[in-house]
């Protein structure tokens, strides 16, 4: 059965018509960590969207005082070794009111490094400690441009700080990026979800 309103087909053959607006943010996938050595997203990153948003919710490490890591792949996840140029800024404030700071962390920056990008450090593993935030990635399928990305992550530092990191930069490649991976510097990702959205073109 089809539903036609004022001459416009809205539903037919078991699906909404392609012309029906369903919102500009499309959930592509949800990855849920469960004692996972890494969370890799190897599908859904394509030329279908120009802009992708990754939402991280309560990414909780199994091991205390670890770094949260990121890398990209141009071969569907066979290798995560894209050359990256990045910058890293942070802000923190201690629960006890004993310290706060805004700064740039030279130790996290990469100048065409192919290893994992450290997104933040000293993540706590207490039951209530985790990291949440977002990543915006622009036109990963381009074969002309470098691949710009922007992270903004807030987390519970193991020393009981709220800390935020802004890591951004570009994958310095003109090959299409089609997979990403997230891991901890030591131990598993105990729990947490990563949702991948495509933003309408």
């Amino acid at each position: 059965m089809a539903v036609i309103s004022n001459g416009t087909t809205l539903i037919d053959n078991g699906a909404l018509d392609a012309a029906v607006s369903t919102g500009a943010l499309t959930l592509i996938s949800t990855s849920t960590a469960s004692s996972s050595s890494s969370v890799s997203i190897t599908s859904g990153i394509s030329s279908s969207y120009d802009t992708y948003i990754f939402e991280f919710t309560n990414i909780h490490p199994a091991t205390n005082n670890v770094n949260f890591l990121f890398n990209m792949s141009t071969d569907s996840g066979s290798n995560y070794n894209v050359s990256k140029v990045t910058t890293a800024m942070y802000s923190y404030n201690a629960e006890g009111g004993t310290g706060f700071e805004l700064g740039h962390n030279n130790g996290l920056t990469l100048s065409n490094g192919t290893g994992n990008q450290t997104l933040l450090g000293s993540l706590g593993s207490d039951a209530d400690q985790s990291v949440s935030g977002y990543l915006v990635m622009y036109e990963p399928s381009s074969t002309t441009m470098v691949k710009h990305f922007q992270f903004r992550l807030n987390y519970h530092n193991q020393a009981d700080y709220t800390q935020e990191y802004w890591v951004s930069g570009y994958g310095n490649t003109t090959s299409a990026v089609n997979a990403v991976t997230f891991s901890m510097s030591s131990g598993n990702i105990d729990s947490g979800t990563i949702k991948l959205y495509g933003v309408a073109n």
Binding site: S21, T87, N106
Partner: protein, 196 residues
């Protein structure tokens, strides 16, 4: 034909009710092709969010925007803004976090989005980011905005620039214009979303 369920309109007049299509609505998009500027008309959404994707300059130049209250006849709204940046270069010998000197104190000229520096014009260099404008149609409040821009600096730096501020007017904003300080927008796409 319309469909009303329990008092709620599901669809009518050839369209699904806007209340069912998600909070983020693609209002308009523009693709540059050696364009002097890209302009959008604002409307009645509470929040407008712009994504600029691989905006590539014809010549090395600063990426910027301005606002209009007279339907685009003039782009000269008074703005007070603050800006900071973080950067690192491909050579690995220059990095930092600093206040950017492209802020405005009641300035009416364009607001630079790419820190105080120029976006590179090599084939693989471009500018990406997102800009949010709040309550553009208000005739009571000044109009706040926030932008985060990531770009390839002409000297091969990764630069992330943060800009925030307000259009210091109680007139409704009607239009926005994106340009490079010199030369054309060679290529790239800008999307305008509305959020209610």
């Amino acid at each position: 034909m319309g469909l009303i369920s329990n008092g709620t309109t599901i669809f009518d007049n050839g369209a699904v009710s806007s209340s069912l299509t998600g909070g983020l609505v693609l209002v308009s998009s523009a693709t540059a092709s050696s364009s002097a500027s890209i302009e959008f008309t604002l409307g009645s959404y509470n929040i407008y969010k712009f994504f600029y994707i691989n905006v590539h300059p014809g010549t090395e130049s600063k990426f910027q925007f301005n606002l209009s209250t007279d339907s685009g006849s003039n782009y000269n709204v008074t703005k007070t803004t603050t800006s900071w940046r973080t950067f690192f270069n491909e050579a690995g010998n220059d990095t930092g976090l600093s206040y950017a000197d492209n802020d405005l104190s009641q300035g009416t000229g364009p607001q630079v989005l790419s820190a105080s520096n120029s976006v590179g014009a090599d084939n693989d260099q471009a500018c990406c980011g997102h800009l949010t404008i709040y309550n553009a149609a208000s005739t009571t409040f000044s109009k706040h905005f926030q932008a985060e821009t990531q770009f390839s600096h002409l000297s091969d730096y990764a630069v992330r620039d943060f800009v925030a501020g307000y259009a210091n007017t109680t007139s409704a904003l009607t239009n926005i214009q994106f340009t490079f300080a010199s030369g054309n927008i060679d290529a790239g796409k800008i999307l305008m979303f509305g959020i209610n």
